[in-house]
Symmetry: C2
Subunit: 304 residues, 2 copies
């Protein structure tokens, strides 16, 4: 088995690190949140400073929030005070692989791939989908693109973390493009579910009946079936938080604007998540976007 | 077996009339389009003038476009020239049932139910879902509400036409409310599918790969799986037309406005269908809303 480091022990990264350990890989876990690292090492994982461990890695799996954090891990932070710091890539061995899992613009992924290539490090554009439960069970979907060598180097780790690996071509960017498409749909579907469920309440449709009936009808979506029960239960413990959608739909609309692509439905959905965050709900489960609709219409949701 | 008339032999009504005949009911088919009636009678169905047949009916199944047409069938047209004409209800027998299948406002359904009640005619608020293929195969989903007597009178005909009957309570209005909720979701999901698929094209995501990958991911919806293949095939022969959504999302937003319910995602989606209709695509399959996005972004869809 190989040696990997997971950079970012959030709800996704922690589960991925666990899945790698369960498959008997040697795994370093790193995070700026000390308590996450302590939990990981208490359960038998290892940790270390990036510069110290980079040379030992077969794979660096980067599960941070966005493009800026990804770049910082790989090539160091740019700031005015200290100039460009050093990232892990220049200390990694030739033939090792970076798996970049954050939702980023395809162009960013291509740039990172090029820069890794200068150090002989492979780059797999590998955004993830499936949520924290699937991450912990090694059942993620990964939308991956990169060279054959990048896939070969990543394969033992992909096998440990993913139930489904979509192989989307031999160049970085394609994985991130498909992920952006998926996030557009997923985010809009959550907001639309909330819009429909609360609209239904104004017409006397009980939320539990909404779930029962609509999940069997043409109006169903994966997100509806997954998130509407949170509203029925009045349970907004975050599986995926409202603020994730400010980030991800923001990324989608940034990419769209660069392509001069008008995306009015996505734009409308994003505004509802922004309103939810503005009402202080940013860290609640994303189904809490329903509270924006409820507040606007003066209706009461289950459990409130 | 009983005697029923289907008012409206469009893509849904024709199949429903066929399903009733297949279950050995006696079936009258009526439509303002003479060729539809001729086709129905050529295949063994009956027809007649509404006033002549109303007294023979156990069930009047009204599968017209909207509330105004429903009211005309039931209680006659209101126009300034001729005053209020006569509909079928006053000629129907006590204990017969009206099944009203158009997408209408819940308040309209309650009003029709009350007016039917004055003639001793039961009213089942019975919007339908599933498309023309399921209609022809007796496999519709019907979102029904009404009195126990209305359900009992309708039961033999429901059994012939529906795979699933959602029983949504003992008062008209609940069925129409659930249908409006379903149409909100279905319409938005079609527009969002088109938005995502065309956005993907700008980022190098091939439409066939879009369908293959996204249908297995969190971004999937029933409508995406059903309609996106039309775009991949470049086939816009209408299963359900663009203009249906001008009507149905229009009804949803009318109901929402009456309830002072703000529905920004639905409103954005409706604008895209309106743009499609404005571009002359109103009678094409509703997946043709993708052409609006393609035109705006200067991209080419399959088959064009």
């Amino acid at each position: 088995m190989g040696t990997a480091a997971v950079f970012g022990l959030g709800s996704m990264g922690y589960g991925m690190a666990d899945s790698l350990r369960a498959a008997d890989h040697r795994v370093f876990g790193l995070d700026v949140v000390a308590s996450s690292v302590e939990k990981f090492t208490a359960q038998g994982g290892e940790t270390g400073e990036p510069a110290d461990i980079a040379g030992e890695l077969d794979a660096a799996i980067v599960v941070v929030l966005n493009a800026a954090q990804t770049e910082t891990v790989l090539f160091g932070a740019r700031d005015g005070a200290s100039g460009e710091k050093i990232g892990i890539v220049e200390s990694m061995n030739r033939g090792a692989v970076v798996m970049a899992c954050a939702t980023v613009a395809p162009e960013f992924a291509r740039d990172m791939s090029d820069r890794c290539g200068k150090y002989g490090v492979h780059y797999l554009d590998a955004p993830i989908s499936g949520g924290s439960v699937k991450a912990a069970n090694g059942q993620l979907s990964i939308m991956a693109s990169g060279s054959d060598d990048a896939f070969a180097a990543a394969r033992p780790f992909l096998d440990a973390m993913a139930e489904t690996v979509f192989e989307l071509g031999n160049a970085a960017g394609a994985g991130s493009a498909m992920k952006a498409v998926n996030q557009l749909l997923a985010g809009v579907h959550i907001a639309t579910m909330a819009e429909a469920l609360t609209f239904g309440i104004t017409q006397g449709v009980e939320p539990d009946k909404f779930v029962e009936v609509i999940s069997q009808c043409a109006g169903s979506s994966w997100m509806l079936e997954n998130r509407a029960p949170h509203i029925v239960e009045g349970n907004y413990a975050p599986h995926s938080a409202v603020d994730i959608w400010l980030k991800d739909l923001g990324i989608v609309l940034d990419i769209a604007k660069s392509a001069k692509f008008s995306a009015p439905v996505t734009a409308a959905a994003l505004q509802q998540f922004i309103a939810a965050s503005g009402q202080g709900l940013g860290r609640e489960d994303d189904a809490a976007v329903a509270k924006v609709y409820a507040k606007n219409a003066g209706i009461t949701l289950p459990g409130s």
